[in-house]
């Protein structure tokens, strides 16, 4: 490693160009930039407006750059200096050959006001003029996160931008939800736009895509993870409708604008950044190691194979661990810990960038290689990227540019989740005395704890649950993706007052998957291969004209007109091969029967937009915009729709004399906007199709299709489409106050928003007896209301010590307010737990059965318990039947929780000292929100959870009574059996006390957490010897940690878990893979 770093440094030194002398006719611009107090200002941008040429000031505040002779013809030019924290300053110079010396003295100014903000569709403004809430995340913050997935790097950076990682697996997706759920369908992710071009961010789980089981199979990346975070200059999050309305019917869930790094005029810069990470699972899992395999206290192998074929002479062993206490000295195993090792991620990035007065370029390459933390092979994710962004000025007014990225990702994933081949499911259900590492029997056959002694004739007999080590080694799940992202820009300024921008972009990828399950696996015993190809092709054209004019000293404005055309074509081919011919290879051609499917969706979008801004008296800033969208996904009877927005920002400190003594600035803002979400493709249509009927287990071969015995059958539609389908529409009001105090000591922003989403599309249930189960229509209303606070303090800004700290806080209240007469609508469909939209509750609330309790008007048998047994007992008291046990209320599906948090926030701090050191930390907090801990509930059934150690002991339900310990945690009980001692044993845990009964409430847990998300310590070498000895301008070293500590009450592995990936509704944990904590070492070499 050491040799490699030095070699690269030497290489950089060799390729660096020598300093050129001033050539004939050139203009040399020099000078010094200081603060009003006289201290040198380092890092300020000094550039010639309109000519895209300039440089940055050095440590001593000096600057120096040249203008070619051809462009220095004695004309007047505006020389500008800009740096955050100072008022920008411009002077007009005469650009003639020779040396031109200009010094600047800069006044301090609140950091945030003049910061440029990209506001979408080619529009740009400054923070001061912004009437809406927009959050920016810069390259430095992204780098500090050490996250290979750009989406995850946004965690804790902005209020009400909830980031949830699927799991710690390499390549797992990351869910992003902005200001709450606003729909009942789709994945709820915002629109991602890279350098002006909308790009794909799907998470395609192979199982989920066709079979609808995203909780099964393996993790799947969200496609924004293809973008190399090292290539990103900034991320801008347009959160509310008032900000995002310029993107119309695609923006209801917000818009994330990604700007990639560009080359800057000046000397060519070289940069090599390498990091290496050590990843370990964040927590252990409590398993009992006292009782052995069996049932009802017997050491029994008490199952049988069902087929009775000659090969099936070997008995199934009990799936449970309700056997006898293990004899002293029995070897037991840590079935959780043994599955994991330390994972490693290496990340290497090299970039070369530069340019001159007419051209710029940025060339980069990066390789991120993630070897996951699961013991064994087939657990990795590798992303390789190359990118070239360049621009060329043609003549004086026309600039053409291009940006081309090529991405290659190779994933190898692990079976997980609600899946009999999943490693957590099989691993954690294993009896403590069974050695999962010993998964090959003496006769060479694969064995598992449920099928312990396979004969040689049992090769295609399912093993009940798969052994995790066998499945990791023998069940490859591969992804191989090639993606090209690119755009061509033309910027033309035909007149001083007019800019015309054309961006033509494309996003194309082909994503090949291959998932194999070998002979004898638990899911599909005769072997199975899934081959899937996904092709996504987005073409986008965006033409914008921006006119600006200063009408008077107190009134200036801009007017923008634009057109957008977009074509998105997604094509998938999926083939399920069953029954392997030979044990290997795991390819479709080695299977006896195949079940191919293909599917294509094509969507066209045609939009026009306009925006006008007015700047009045340099303190009142007005913006109004209107977009008209016509999408092919809209009903033919209702094809085009308008989305307006308007905002006002008033920097009132400029209007009220005397305020500025202690108030740097203060701004109030109000805004209104409308955004939408389009219907899913072909929702307007009703079609016939091939019927598929799946048996209970959902086994890949346990299916009948209406293509049967070579004959083609069809069935009608379950859901009826509507030709009048409109986009869902979100109307949002937003207001806020931004201010800075005490000459840059602190700044803060506070916002309130109130949004109402109407016309929410859902499959409104219709009576099945009418012949279909639903009609797709615009019929629901959702509200999201919330507060957001962002604050930053800069208490110390001395030369040798700087200290910043701050906080963000966000609260969102989501409610379903109308379903147009429907009652419960399934939202976030998945198999583990019912998640509903019910009026008066948050979207995607957990629905399930509770035990019978007082105060709910329930009847048990013929008893109305409120009248008969609950007198004198509080509402909510647990009803106890004669036998001493509670009774599940089977008749009522109750809303029992929601994954949506009460509030989220983060605290961050950065300390810089002695100019070279920097330490930073980020604490990420989610307060409230619940998780269905089905893993615990299922392990109760199997008797492997640590809690089942109490088996055979006597308790009473509710509080302790008559000297007998209380159980189940209920403060009050009522009913004929209240206080009756009962033995808690297999019957309870396998029955009403476990997750396989209708008992849901016992497994709803608080999933709030506080995570030490990021902590880092860095040192930057800029001493003269760095240049002298290494030929470099700086060397950065950083050690960092990620997710080092999690504080939570959640009883499962990690409260941050999103089985199913980037999905609309989360909050269920069913043998999901764990999260990781990481230690990272980073080295950066810059020249």
């Amino acid at each position: 490693m050491k040799f490699r770093v030095l070699s690269v440094a030497a290489l950089l030194a060799l390729v660096a160009a020598p300093r050129m002398a001033l050539a004939q006719g050139e203009a040399l611009l020099t000078g010094k930039v200081t603060s009003v107090a006289g201290s040198p200002v380092e890092g300020a941008q000094v550039f010639l407006d309109k000519m895209a040429i300039g440089t940055q000031t050095k440590t001593d505040g000096s600057y120096r750059f040249t203008v070619p002779a051809a462009r220095a013809s004695g004309q007047a030019a505006l020389l500008t200096v800009r740096l955050q924290g100072f008022k920008p300053k411009s002077v007009t110079i005469t650009l003639s050959p020779g040396t031109i010396n200009t010094d600047f003295s800069l006044e301090s100014q609140a950091v945030v006001l003049q910061q440029l903000v990209i506001t979408g569709e080619g529009t740009i403004t400054t923070n001061e003029k912004l009437g809406v809430t927009v959050n920016n995340v810069g390259a430095e913050d992204i780098a500090k996160s050490n996250e290979p997935n750009l989406t995850e790097a946004l965690a804790g950076k902005a209020p009400n931008v909830a980031i949830t990682s699927e799991s710690g697996d390499p390549g797992s997706s990351v869910n992003i939800q902005i200001r709450g759920i606003k729909s009942f369908s789709g994945d709820g992710q915002p629109l991602f736009v890279v350098d002006g071009v909308p790009v794909d961010n799907q998470s395609i789980n192979v199982q989920g895509q066709f079979a609808g089981n995203a909780e099964q199979g393996t993790v799947a990346p969200n496609r924004i993870s293809d973008i190399n975070p090292n290539d990103v200059e900034s991320v801008t999050i347009l959160k509310g409708s008032a900000a995002a309305a310029i993107y119309g019917a695609r923006a209801a869930q917000g818009v994330v604008l990604i700007t990639t790094k560009s080359g800057k005029a000046g000397k060519t810069e070289y940069s090599l950044h390498s990091s290496y990470s050590f990843d370990k699972v964040t927590a252990g899992y409590p398993l009992q190691r006292t009782y052995g395999q069996g049932n009802n206290g017997f050491l029994a192998d008490n199952g049988v194979l069902n087929t009775g074929l000659p090969s099936d002479t070997d008995a199934f062993s009990s799936s449970h661990s309700w056997g006898q206490p293990l004899a002293a000295g029995t070897v037991t195993y840590d079935h959780f810990g043994e599955m994991f090792e330390t994972g490693h991620v290496s990340d290497n990035n090299l970039s070369v960038s530069g340019g001159d007065d007419r051209r710029s370029f940025f060339l980069s390459g990066g390789i991120n290689n993630n070897n996951g933390f699961v013991e064994g092979p087939n657990d990795s994710y590798k992303r390789s990227t190359v990118r070239l962004k360049a621009s060329q000025l043609i003549g004086e007014n026309l600039k053409v540019g291009g940006n081309l990225s090529y991405i290659d990702t190779r994933g190898s994933f692990i079976q997980r989740g609600d899946n009999t081949s999943g490693i957590m499911l099989g691993g954690l259900r294993t009896p403590p005395e069974w050695n999962n590492l010993d998964f090959i029997a003496s006769n060479g056959q694969y064995r598992s704890y449920r099928f312990q002694s396979p004969s040689t004739l049992s090769a295609t007999t399912g093993r009940g649950y798969d052994d995790p080590f066998f499945i990791v080694a023998n069940a490859p799940a591969k992804e191989n993706l090639s993606r090209v992202l690119g755009n061509i820009d033309v910027n033309w300024e035909p007149f001083e007052w007019l800019k015309i921008q054309e961006t033509a972009g494309a996003d194309y990828y082909t994503d090949q998957r291959l998932e194999g399950l070998p002979l004898g696996n638990a899911t599909s015993p005769s072997g199975q291969v899934i081959r899937a190809d996904y092709n996504n092709y987005i073409l986008d054209h965006n033409l914008t004209a921006i006119a600006s004019h200063t009408f008077s000293p107190w009134f200036s404005g801009t007017f923008t007109l634009g057109q957008n055309l977009n074509s998105t074509d997604f094509h998938q081919i999926y083939d399920l091969g069953s029954t392997l011919i030979a044990p290997l290879p795991l390819v479709i051609s080695n299977t006896i029967s195949t079940n191919p499917n293909d599917n294509e969706t094509l969507v066209h979008r045609e939009s026009y937009f306009g925006q006008a801004t007015a700047d009045l008296w340099d303190q009142l800033f007005l913006t109004g915009a209107l977009r008209n969208d016509g999408f092919s996904t809209f009903g033919a009877n209702d094809r085009r729709h308008y989305f307006p927005k308007a905002s006002a920002a008033w920097t009132f400190t400029k209007a009220i004399a005397g305020l500025t003594k202690s108030i740097d600035f203060a701004k109030v803002r109000v805004a209104y906007g409308e955004t939408g979400r389009e219907p899913l493709p072909y929702s307007t249509l009703s079609n016939f199709g091939v019927g598929t009927f799946i048996e209970y287990g959902g086994d890949a071969s346990g299916i009948l299709r209406t293509i049967y015995q070579g004959q083609a059958g069809l069935i009608g539609p379950l859901a009826i489409g509507s030709d009048s389908l409109r986009p869902e529409r979100t109307r949002e009001y937003e207001g806020g106050l931004d201010f800075g105090l005490f000459k840059g000591f602190m700044d803060a922003g506070i916002s309130y928003y109130d949004s109402k989403t109407t016309d929410v599309i859902f499959q409104a249930p219709t009576p099945p007896s009418s012949g279909s189960t639903s009609i797709i229509k615009n019929a629901a209303t959702i509200t999201n209301k919330g507060w957001e606070i962002t604050t930053n303090f800069h208490p110390i800004k001395s030369q040798n010590l700087t200290w910043d700290f701050g906080a963000v806080w966000g609260r969102n209240r989501n409610l379903v307010t109308s379903l147009s007469g429907s009652s419960d609508i399934s939202v976030g469909s998945q198999a583990i737990l019912s998640t509903f939209a019910r009026v008066g509750f948050p979207t995607g609330s957990f629905a399930g059965h509770d035990f019978v309790r007082c105060g709910r008007g329930l009847v048990v048998g013929t008893d109305n318990i409120d009248a008969d047994v609950c007198q004198g007992h509080p509402n909510g008291a647990l009803y106890i039947a004669q036998n001493g046990f509670p009774v599940i209320d089977e008749a009522n599906l109750r809303i029992v929780g929601s994954a949506q948090p009460d509030w989220t926030g983060s605290l961050h701090t950065t300390v810089g000292f002695l100019k070279h050191w920097e330490a930073s930390a980020l604490l990420d907090i989610k307060h409230g929100g619940q998780m269905y801990d089905g893993t615990r509930g299922a392990l109760y059934v199997y008797g492997t959870h640590k809690d089942t150690d109490i088996r055979g002991q006597t308790f009473v339900f509710g509080p302790a009574a008559n000297g007998v310990r209380g159980f189940h945690g209920d403060p009050a009980v009522a009913g004929p059996g209240a206080g009756t001692p009962v033995i808690i044993d297999q019957n309870w845990f396998e029955g009403d006390g476990g997750a396989f009964s209708d008992n849901v409430t016992d497994f709803i847990e608080d999933a709030g957490y506080t995570k030490l998300r990021e902590v880092s310590l860095g040192y930057t070498f800029t001493q003269p010897w760095v240049s002298r000895s290494l030929g470099l301008s700086s060397v950065q070293l950083r050690v960092a940690g990620r997710n080092l500590v999690t504080w939570t009450h959640y009883a499962g592995l990690d409260p941050e878990s999103q089985l199913g990936g980037a999905t609309l509704v989360g909050g269920f944990d069913w043998f999901n893979n764990p999260q990781t904590r990481s230690f990272v070492v980073t080295v950066g070499l810059n020249r």
Binding site: N296, A300, N302, G303, V304, L305, N306, T307, G308, D312, S319, G462, I500, S524, P525, A545, S593, N599, H604, F631, S632, A636, R639, Y682, L685, N687, F688, G689, F693, I694, E695, Y696, G697, S701, G702, I703, L704, Y708, Q709, A712, G713, L714, I715, G716, P765, T766, P767, P768, S769, S770, G771, S772, S822, V887, A891, V941, D992, F996, S997, D998
Partner: protein
Amino acid sequence: MKIKSRALALVAMVGVATTFGCNNFLTGDKLSNNPNLPTSATADQLFIGVQVATMADWEAYPLNLLPTWVDQIAGVNRQWANYADYASGTDNVTSDGTWIATYGPGGLADLRRAEDEATASGNLKEVGQLKVLEALFMGTAADLFGDVPYDSALTAEPKFDAQADVYTHVQATLDTAITDLAGAGAGGAVDFFFASDFSKWTAMAHTLKARYFMHTAENSDLSYDNTKLNSVLTETASGILDPSGDFATQHTSNNLEANLFYEFLIGSRAGDVEPSQLHISLLQSLNDNNLLASLYSSPYLGSTAGISAGSHVSSFLVNATTQMIIVGNYENTLLSAEAHYRLGATGPAGTELQAEHAAYGEPGAVPIVGGANGLLVTIINEKFARGFLNPEVYFDYLRTCVPNIPLPANIANAFTAVPARFNYGFTEEITNTKTPSDPIANANWPKHATSPSGVACFGQKDRVGG
């Protein structure tokens, strides 16, 4: 000059915008139509779809909960242990699947679409085939749920017909079917069940008529309506007279064409259910040795609801091509035997019982159990034993309390008896304001039935939702 060129360029840019924004950008082949699915279906295509749906419905969850509830198969592991104990699977979410399958795609909706198309094309034989299936679907719905929509089904918000009226409507549908089967046309192009042997469809229609006459023959005072019993005799005389006419699922060993119960047994749910001790002992006591040997391996020992009896339990011998009889000769014969018995003709009843036994190749005679009504108990026992995985075993149990089923050892707290019906499907309940609250019983369910020996059995006591 400079200004002019700029103006020209501006015009060009507008031209680009106009060109891209062409009028038909939002419509076209893959935009206005779903490129993946057809927009129409023929009667023959729908008939195939419904046939496959029928096989899937009768072989899979949730209908196979019914034999589990009466311990014909023993749920012993994972979720199926809880189904067997009634701890789950008795709510309106579970029954939703069957409700939707009855009325939706693959059910009544497609049957009616196909009937309309076949009628229009003059293929009355196909209409007859479709109507026989319609009667099977709707008769079973009445058996499962009681009052259900039929007269106004497939309208926006159908009303619920009284269970008795549904059975009457089913009889009328079967009468029409029998007429149509003798009419013009070539029938459905693909007939997996009877290979276009319309006499078999006609015989099945008659057996179904007999089935539903028997389901409605019991009076509330425990006596039976002789008129309906005589109708049973009339219909069975024209019913399925030979096992070769059994209406049974048809499978191949090809992937995606195998018996779904077999796939359930060997697939991801291996070990969830085991052979039932009750079923095995009945097969043995009835001398149904061929059936015993075809269903289970030796030694013939089974488990009980919720509890596996251990590693010595038999194996199921169900395989990929095993046919599940939905309506069979055995049912036809035993319906006749029961009718004869209840009409006092014990001689023919006994003869028919033995004839059924012989028709399925069982050697020797069926031993008649002792006690009051021993022959009747034996007839119903034989129907229970022969009707492997057939929902009729559950309906017969509700009607007769036969066979004598032990309650599950770990029966769920909410129950003191076998669940007495499926609740209305969840989706119907939340969408159709005419859905009645789940009743304990409908008009034609036996209200006070006792076992044939006069002892109340627990099958009638606690009806789900009551």
